[in-house]
Structures are given as structure tokens and as C-alpha cells.
């Protein structure tokens, strides 16, 4: 059933509504509750297809549903509609305003209503798609302060990588932080790339979501998961490669590649002078789980992230790349 989570009126003849679809067992029973959330960043669309796939699969076997599935496909409808990452008109990153405030402005009010609506879920999955610049292997990112509770759940989500990262004050204004601190276990998924849909990744994550639903006794049908994540919780295991010069980055390998020291990741070229500005090489042995998709780079732009020290596990994955 479609429900309006919250609604505000806009200046000229329009309402802004945050909507969700609530799916429940046919027999009217309640059970536990999972919330699938996406679209906080208007340029991240991978979650759109996941929301659809989840509903398709439930519709095929409604008798297997024993709990509540709430689907929130568009947390930032303005952003999605205007191909904008943040909230247009406010120039604001929606994932920096949680938990919001019912007494605050329009966006803070909406944020507070969203947190209130998701509260009470047994699990929330917040699906992101990196940004328009980088492509990511399907992964779950976990703030170290929630690692104990969330890593065991993330292991069941059929992703390829679980990255436990350090705490930072700035991240305290994300939806996931707000929910986790209110006792709602929330997994943040990053996968694929902005402005695109990667069907295989969406299907992979959908399997993971059904596996989690089975764990929570929300879903009774068999679920087949094929991916076991590599877990990294050591701070210096991830190598960041930032552009040493401004130019046009042309990648030489795809994300998921296994790299040795000296392997070429891409070239930074100068189309005006016809010169090669930099050959981007891997400084170490590792697994390329992030690679730059958007060609233009400024000095400092991120081009790649490489996971060190898990070569055997990464080699077993082999086909993780697109």
C-alpha cells in the first residue's frame, strides 16, 4: 500500500511528498520489519532497480512474506527529478541534515519525519551508488562504532566487500548514523556508479536483501547467495590514489581487477598538447574496488581505491568485475 511519509506544500500549486510502499503478508499478520531506502542522493539510481526487483519477487511468492517490507525509493525527489545530487534550491547534501528537526526548515522537517517513519524497523538498508565520478564493487560501509552489530549482518548481504571505516564527526549527520544511534540496524550499501543502473549488481544485492529478510523471518522462500564479502577493518589496508595532475583520465583496467605493483590503472592525458601527463600505476599488490569513471580530473581527484592484503580472497572472486 502506498503511504505518504510526509508532505509539504510548495509555493506554486504543488506538494512535495515522500512516499513509501508497504508490503505485508496476505493474512494481515505483522512480523518483523525491514526498510529499503534509496535516493537520498538524487544522482544515485542503482537503488531504483533494486526497489523494483524486491517487489517483483515478493509478488511472485506473496505466501512467503511473513513480515513488513517498507520501500522508500525517493528520499530526495527534487534531486532525482533535476539530476542533482543534493537538494536543489538549497544546495544542500541531504545526507548531512539528519536527524533533522520537526521545528526546522522544510528539509530538516522532512528529514525528521523520515527518521521517525523508519524508526521501529528491525533492519534498514540504505542503498547508494557512489557518485558520478567513481564506480564501486558492491560493498557495505560500516562506521567502526557500529561494527560489532553490523558486520555479522553485512556478511549475509551478498556483497563483495565490507569496509569498516573510522568514525568522523561529519558523518554524524547521515541517515544511517541517526538510525543506528536510535537502535535501528542500518546497512549502507555503495555499488555501481551514479546516473546509471548496473543490472547484475542490483540483482546481486536483491538476493542479499532476501537473505537478510530470511534471517529476520520476514521471508520463508529459499535464497541463493553467491558472494561472500572480504572484510577490511584495518585503517591502512585501503590505498587511495589521487590525481597528481589535472587532465583527462582514461582507465586501463576495470574495477575488480587484481593488481601487482607497477600495473597500469590508467593514463592522464592532455588533449590540447597531445601529451601524456601521467601514467597511473598501482603502488602495491591489491584489489581495485573503486575506479574513476568520469574522465576529467583536477589535481587531487580520486582515481582509485585499492585493498591490500587480501589477495587470495580477491583472486577467488575473479569475476567480480563487470
Amino acid at each position: 500500500m502506498i503511504e505518504i511519509v510526509t508532505q509539504v506544500s510548495l509555493p506554486v500549486d504543488e506538494h512535495l511528498s515522500i512516499k513509501k510502499n508497504r508490503l505485508q503478508p496476505e493474512d494481515g499478520s505483522n512480523g518483523r520489519r525491514i526498510s529499503i531506502v534509496t535516493g537520498i542522493h538524487g544522482d544515485e539510481l542503482e537503488g531504483q532497480y533494486v526497489c523494483w526487483l524486491v517487489q517483483q519477487r515478493i509478488a511472485q511468492h506473496p505466501e512467503c512474506l511473513k513480515g513488513t517490507v517498507d520501500i522508500y525509493p525517493a528520499m530526495n525527489p527534487f534531486g532525482i527529478d533535476s539530476v542533482t545530487r543534493g537538494i536543489p534550491a538549497f544546495d544542500l547534501d541531504m545526507n548531512r541534515i539528519f536527524p533533522g528537526s520537526v521545528d526546522g526548515d522544510m528539509n530538516e522537517y522532512i528529514a525528521a519525519q523520515i527518521v521517525g517513519d523508519i524508526s521501529g524497523s528491525d533492519l534498514a538498508v540504505d542503498i547508494h551508488a557512489s557518485n558520478i565520478y567513481l564506480t564501486e564493487i558492491p560493498q557495505i560501509r560500516i562506521n567502526e562504532i557500529s561494527a560489532q552489530r553490523l558486520v555479522p549482518l553485512a556478511m549475509k548481504a551478498n556483497v563483495d566487500f565490507v569496509w569498516v571505516h573510522g568514525a568522523s564527526t561529519v558523518l554524524e549527520s547521515t541517515l544511517a548514523y541517526s538510525l543506528n544511534s536510535r537502535g535501528v540496524d542500518t546497512l549502507v550499501v555503495e555499488m555501481g556508479v551514479g546516473m546509471r543502473i548496473t543490472r547484475t549488481y542490483c540483482e546481486q544485492l536483491t538476493d542479499g536483501i532476501f537473505n537478510l529478510m530470511r534471517e529476520l523471518n520476514i521471508w520463508t522462500d529459499e535464497v541463493c547467495t553467491t558472494h561472500t564479502p572480504i572484510v577490511s577493518s584495518v585503517a591502512d589496508e585501503v590505498e587511495f590514489l589521487n590525481a597528481p595532475v589535472s587532465g583527462v583520465f582514461v582507465k586501463s583496467v576495470n574495477h575488480g581487477a587484481l593488481l601487482g605493483p607497477g600495473d597500469e590503472i590508467g593514463l592522464i592525458v592532455d588533449p590540447l598538447h597531445g601529451t601524456l601527463l601521467n601514467r597511473v600505476i598501482s603502488p602495491c599488490e591489491g584489489w581495485l574496488f573503486t575506479v574513476r569513471e568520469y574522465p576529467m580530473v583536477d589535481q587531487g581527484s580520486l582515481m582509485a581505491r585499492i585493498l591490500k592484503g587480501h589477495m587470495e580472497e580477491a583472486a577467488r572472486k575473479g569475476g567480480a568485475a563487470q
Partner: protein, 310 residues
């Protein structure tokens, strides 16, 4: 006066990105002043350009106190001003959310690191800051409540108010916060405007900085005029929110004292012209901020009032 490039990035097609600083006097690193960091901060840049001209004149007249150095960085982000983009052109990130910066990180982290390298270690730091909402503010000094803030020093600017604000999560990545943490007495100076240049409030800001420099014995100058600043907490601001969306018709100006129940603004129906809502003063107070967007969203804080005891 010494003009030098403090930080530089080579670009592919554009002219190189440069942060330029003007140094006056020699010796102890006494005062650092920084202007615009965002592409819409024209007033902040304008104020700095006036100060550069003023300091140049003081230097020529021999009125700088020997042994004290003053650095002015009018603009930490010329790229965004030139393209009329509020944030960093390529990835829309905000330099003032990147401090203290990271020299090996993303572009705006590098710029923040480069700027911070130049501005850290000074005894006093002034940033011409801007409010995120379009409108007019009563001129004030704002400082983060880090435990290091010195409100008495802030009163030396002689602006009407000194506002102390509890840091929110994102504030920890601003220049003001990091300046304080690294031992600089940091002041964010808010003039009336941001995108529009306002001569009157630019002059007031210039005089405020002149007063501060004179009282801190950095220049030979007799401060005159100015206010006895009132120190308030940001929690003392009362937000008056639009009760519905529509055209905003604001009837008051910042600095104006209003009685309880005074009509402050009206919201008009954009199709039918009728009055949808009247916003009235909930108490006696002074208008601190008045929004000037023609069209407002429901729940937007269109006015801020500094409450006064009756």
C-alpha cells in the same frame, strides 16, 4: 605590501588556480584576514579589497606598528567566483567544510590544507563569512563555542553583537573551528549581505576591523563610533518561520527593534494575491535577520529575532 601566491594548482584548460595573499609589515604573525571561499561571496571579497587598499595607505603613511605582520587573503576560491558557482566547480564541494585539509586528499581538501598552512599560527584570524540563506543580517561577530573563544576580544570590533554558537557536526570542518583549535583567536565577521555588494555595511566592516587593529596595537589609528557589543548565544535567536509557502513580503529591516505582535511579514498567495499568513513578533526584540527571497517555502526561518527582556 607584498603580494604573493600562497597556493597554486595547475589546470588543464583554465588558468592556474591561485590563492593570493597580501602581507603588510614584518615580524610577529599578528593578524590574518580571509575573504570569500564560496562563489557567491562578493561582499566578503569586496570588504577585503577595501582593507587591502586601506592597509596599503596606512603602510605608506608609516602607521603600521613595527614588528607586527598582517596578511590579507581576499579570496580562497577565485575559480568559483569566476564561474558564478557557489561551490567547487567540478564536484560541488565546499572548501569551508574541508579544514584543516589534507594535502594528499581530494582537490578541495588540498586547497583547504594549502590555505590552512598559510593562515595557521597567526595570533588573530578574521574570516568574512556568509549565511547560507539570502537575506540581510545585523552585522556581528560569530564565534564557535570551543572553550577557546574570547568574547571580550570580539567586542573590540565594536559591532552590535557577538554571537557564540555551539558547534554542529559539520562545523568541526570549518576554518573558524580549526583556527581556534590550533590556537588562533578566530572571528567570523558577518556583514549584512553576501551576493550583493552593500557599501554601507562594507564600510561598517572596514571600520570594525580598523577598530580591532587599533585596539590590538597593530596600527596607529583612533577608533571612533562603533557599538558596545552585546554578547549573545545563537540559542537566543528566535526563528520566525513561514507558516505556509508563497510570496514573502517583509516589512522590517535588520537592527530594527520591534514590540510583541508587530507585523513583520506577510505571505501572499502566488496565484490570487490574497494574504495567506501574517508573521508577527512573538516577543519584544531586535530583528537580527530578514530574508529577502521573493518566494519562500513553508517552515523556512524567514526572520530571526534577538529576544530582549521586557
Amino acid at each position: 605590501m607584498k603580494k604573493e601566491v600562497l597556493y597554486e594548482i595547475k589546470a588543464l584548460y583554465r588558468d592556474d588556480f591561485r590563492v593570493t595573499g597580501y602581507t603588510f609589515g614584518e615580524g610577529e604573525k599578528a593578524l590574518c584576514i580571509i575573504g570569500s571561499m564560496r562563489g557567491n561571496e562578493n561582499q566578503q571579497l569586496y570588504c577585503c579589497s577595501r582593507l587591502v587598499a586601506r592597509l596599503k595607505q596606512l603602510e605608506e603613511e608609516g602607521r603600521l606598528i613595527p614588528g607586527k605582520q598582517i596578511l590579507v587573503i581576499p579570496c580562497a576560491n577565485p575559480y568559483s567566483i569566476n564561474t558564478k558557482k557557489r561551490f567547487w566547480c567540478t564536484d560541488n564541494t565546499d572548501i569551508n567544510r574541508m579544514f584543516p585539509g589534507y594535502a594528499l586528499g581530494e582537490t578541495t581538501q588540498r586547497i583547504a590544507a594549502g590555505v590552512f598552512e598559510a593562515v595557521k599560527g597567526w595570533q588573530y584570524g578574521i574570516q568574512f563569512a556568509s549565511f547560507y540563506m539570502p537575506g540581510a543580517f545585523v552585522p556581528h561577530i560569530r564565534m564557535m563555542d570551543t572553550g577557546y573563544q574570547d568574547t571580550e576580544l570580539a567586542c573590540e570590533f565594536g559591532l552590535p553583537y557577538v554571537v557564540v554558537q555551539k558547534p554542529r557536526p559539520f562545523d568541526t570542518a570549518t576554518l573558524n573551528y580549526n583556527w581556534q583549535i590550533w590556537g588562533t583567536h578566530a572571528f567570523s565577521l558577518y556583514t549584512t549581505n553576501t551576493a550583493r555588494v552593500d557599501e554601507e555595511s562594507a564600510l561598517q566592516a572596514e571600520n570594525a576591523v580598523m577598530s580591532f587593529m587599533a585596539r590590538r596595537r597593530l596600527i596607529n589609528h583612533h577608533p571612533h563610533g562603533g557599538y558596545r557589543s552585546e554578547v549573545i548565544r545563537s540559542a537566543d535567536f528566535v526563528s520566525i518561520r513561514a507558516t505556509c509557502s508563497g510570496f514573502l513580503q517583509c516589512m522590517v529591516k535588520p537592527g530594527q527593534r520591534v514590540q510583541k505582535d508587530t507585523l513583520l511579514a506577510r505571505i501572499l498567495d502566488p496565484y490570487e494575491g490574497c494574504v495567506l499568513a501574517e508573521l508577527r513578533a512573538p516577543m519584544l526584540g531586535v530583528i537580527a535577520f530578514a530574508g529577502d527571497e521573493p518566494m519562500v517555502y513553508e517552515n523556512t526561518a524567514v526572520l530571526k529575532l534577538i529576544r530582549e527582556e521586557a
